[in-house]
Symmetry: C2
Subunit: 116 residues, 2 copies
DNA sequence: TGTCATGTGTACTACATAGTACACGATTTC
DNA sequence: GAAATCGTGTACTATGTAGTACACATGACA
């Protein structure tokens, strides 16, 4: 599923129950031209900037990290975390590349619970 | 330390013992114009592309992830790892943001040793 | 049946990215 | 002291990013 198709499918769903989720009105609320949002949803142009993706995610009630990932981007706060200690995080991420989801989850949970 | 100053300091050190580490010769080996490398080293232009940074790191014997981080970039393979499972890795990284180095290291080691 | 909102096509723009090409004066080397 | 090598200044370019502005045809609806 491309970025555009996903956004369109989500907005369409919202639109069915709330007429304020038209291309025009959503575009206005997130601060872009309707024709631009239309092109984005049909993958006629590349996904928008991180800031615009965030506003779109907020408006549609979707996870910003997920939308950013679909756009091939990484949240700038995550980039900052990594660039602070690049070698450490590079090694960790490469180790976790093929780890099952539950492994990553339990590592995160154990860190959060302070078991380290 | 900026990207440019760091590159210059490393290349200068190599140059002292090996005359083939001049701006001109390094530039030629990594496939860019000498004037461009000169500008990079004096921070007169933004750091080069990921591909060029990788060639430069290889040539200078420095860690590519470190040089990329100094350029404010993230290795594309790491970006791929994250965008495959954005929510999972986003949570993990935010948990690890303020963790001490040894915590991140021991997590990586335990994953590698299969203790999960 | 006229008006109103809808989605979209076309044309254009400003700024960033990632460099090249070439000339110049200074320094080194033979 | 001529030739080669050095670093750098200036000018230019192609492509990508992130959009705007406006017109148009279509369909809803009152």
């Amino acid at each position: 599923m491309t970025f555009g198709k996903f956004v369109r499918s989500v907005r369409d769903k919202r639109f069915k129950e709330d007429r304020s989720f038209s291309v025009r009105q959503v575009a206005q609320r997130i601060g872009v031209e309707p024709s631009y949002l239309s092109k984005i949803e049909r993958d006629q142009v590349a996904p928008p900037s991180e800031a615009t993706i965030r506003r779109l995610a907020g408006e549609l009630g979707e996870d910003a990290d997920l939308l950013l990932a679909m756009a091939g981007k990484i949240s700038s706060d995550l980039r900052n975390i990594i660039t602070q200690r690049p070698q450490l995080f590079a090694e960790l991420l490469r180790q976790l590349k093929d780890a099952p989801d539950h492994t990553i989850q339990s590592v995160a949970r154990e860190i959060r619970d302070g078991d380290w």
